[in-house]
Symmetry: C2
Subunit: 298 residues, 2 copies
């Protein structure tokens, strides 16, 4: 396994304060706990309907349960809370209905960019949001800048290693995942027998794996075992938001879909709870590998 | 609606005989009926498990119900039946298990190419099959060479015309469909609100539309109406096999998926039973349009 230089974790200096914009899933919780473990008191923006508003690791800190439609008030709230740094973490399944967004000075600045980005796609939307918060004086951090161990390292994480046929599948799926990433459609693809057979759209990775599970009974897949899930960052990925992510549940779903393993782009993907991911994969006999460029170009 | 030069239908000359390799669906039936209507007696290869072995338009002619695994015998059978031209039509859902393919002189020639193509993907497989049959002296025809009216013409077919927003969706979906076609993954994509949200993999177009129907309840789509299905030929499409195809059922499924209309690549897509497609679309209020290059490049 190649070794590379890993970033050291960001820790707020005196006078700095981190806000976590918390969507769904474990990532914002882990961030809150990591910051609290270092004696920091983060400000938590609990995105309504996405993050758990009763999560103890959130509510022990100053927090605001924010309806997405009231995002225009956020800049002012962060300013009065003394926030200097913002990290966005966790999934956002819903989209705000722009018609319900309340007018505010913040939103008047933000809305044209956000509306234009919504029309263009996900990645541009996140870039616009990052640029907006930078324009009001905040430093925007990626989750991996606070928790560098979240990033997938290059090379194999598990006891099981990919076979020659698995490597062909990893290459085919990575090429497909990168192609749809370039179009800002999705980040994940499944390949079986050397061929990409299912691509991630708006349904997300769980939906993709559920579909592959169903396809196992499909005539064209009958008798074909194995296959892989690959997640890659978009070529133009905004690294401070929406990095490709897997966790222990991804391993379980990949197993139920009959796959032999998972590849994630090294250093540009997040592995949530890596210890549990490796343990689960080892128990189920799957491989997990951090892919580098030669894995899809060679 | 632009007019272009349309091919005139191929009709066998005296001493020529057409064989139809019949997969699933209406297309091989329409071909058999069209040839019979012109007094020709085609030879029908009814692919077992795909085409209906009791179809009257097949069994009135000389035919063979062929298990895919016995494809190696086909060249000799066609030769003794006096076949000079071969047209492959209809879907093949299953893949032959190579381990079950019986050895024969034909398959010994064919198998290395087919095995290599299976490893590379669909389009190469079809090209290899076409080249194999050409190498044994057959002329391989596309279904549209016999029935040129099958090809989608450029421009709108229906009463309803796409709006400006629909045109944006058509462009986004066509770009996505062509990108996955270039990778030989699929031919179809669905775009909603200017963005491709679902891509066709091995599940096929019906599976894609079924998925979009389910996604309507998904948070990211909630409240977004409309959207389009687009099917495009692969940039390197073998035009004598596997052209993108829609039919009346596609219109019904697109409607149930909440879409506003369908775009197909003009002159490189098949519209099965065009009269019924237009009637169904007009009844349901959908548009159907034949797309040309400027529709995805402008």
């Amino acid at each position: 396994m190649a070794t590379i230089e890993r970033p050291t974790g960001f820790r707020p200096a005196p006078g700095e304060r981190v806000a976590i914009a918390a969507g769904a899933g474990r990532l914002p919780v882990e961030l809150a706990e990591a910051l609290a473990a270092h004696g920091h008191r983060p400000y938590i923006i609990i995105i309504e309907g996405e993050a758990d508003a009763a999560e103890p690791s959130f509510v022990r800190h100053e927090h605001w349960v924010m309806p997405l439609e009231r995002v225009g008030e956020l800049a002012a709230r962060l300013r009065s809370a003394g926030v200097t740094h913002l990290v966005m973490a966790g999934g956002i399944e819903r989209r705000p209905r722009l018609s319900r967004v309340r007018p505010s000075l913040g939103i008047l600045h933000m809305a044209p960019r956000v509306a234009a980005s919504l029309a263009r796609g996900d990645d541009n939307l996140l870039r616009s949001i990052v640029r907006y918060y930078e324009s009001v004086g905040l430093k925007v951090l990626g989750a991996h800048e606070i928790l560098p161990d979240l990033l997938a390292p290059p090379g194999r994480l598990t006891r099981r290693a990919p076979t020659k046929a698995d490597l062909d599948d990893l290459k085919a799926a990575a090429i497909a995942a990168r192609a749809i990433g370039a179009l800002d459609i999705g980040q994940a693809a499944v390949a079986i027998a050397g061929r990409a057979i299912a691509l991630e759209g708006i349904e997300g990775t769980d939906g993709l794996l559920e579909r592959v599970r169903g396809l196992r009974s499909h005539g064209r897949l009958a008798g074909r075992g194995g296959g892989v899930l690959v997640k890659c960052a978009k070529p133009s990925q905004e690294l401070r938001a929406d990095l490709p992510t897997i966790g222990p549940d991804t391993v379980g779903m990949a197993h139920r879909a009959g796959l032999a393993g998972i590849g994630v782009e090294a250093d540009r993907s997040i592995v949530l709870d890596m210890g549990a991911v490796v343990k689960r994969a080892d128990e189920l006999g799957l491989f997990v590998i951090g892919l580098v460029e030669k894995d899809w170009t060679a």
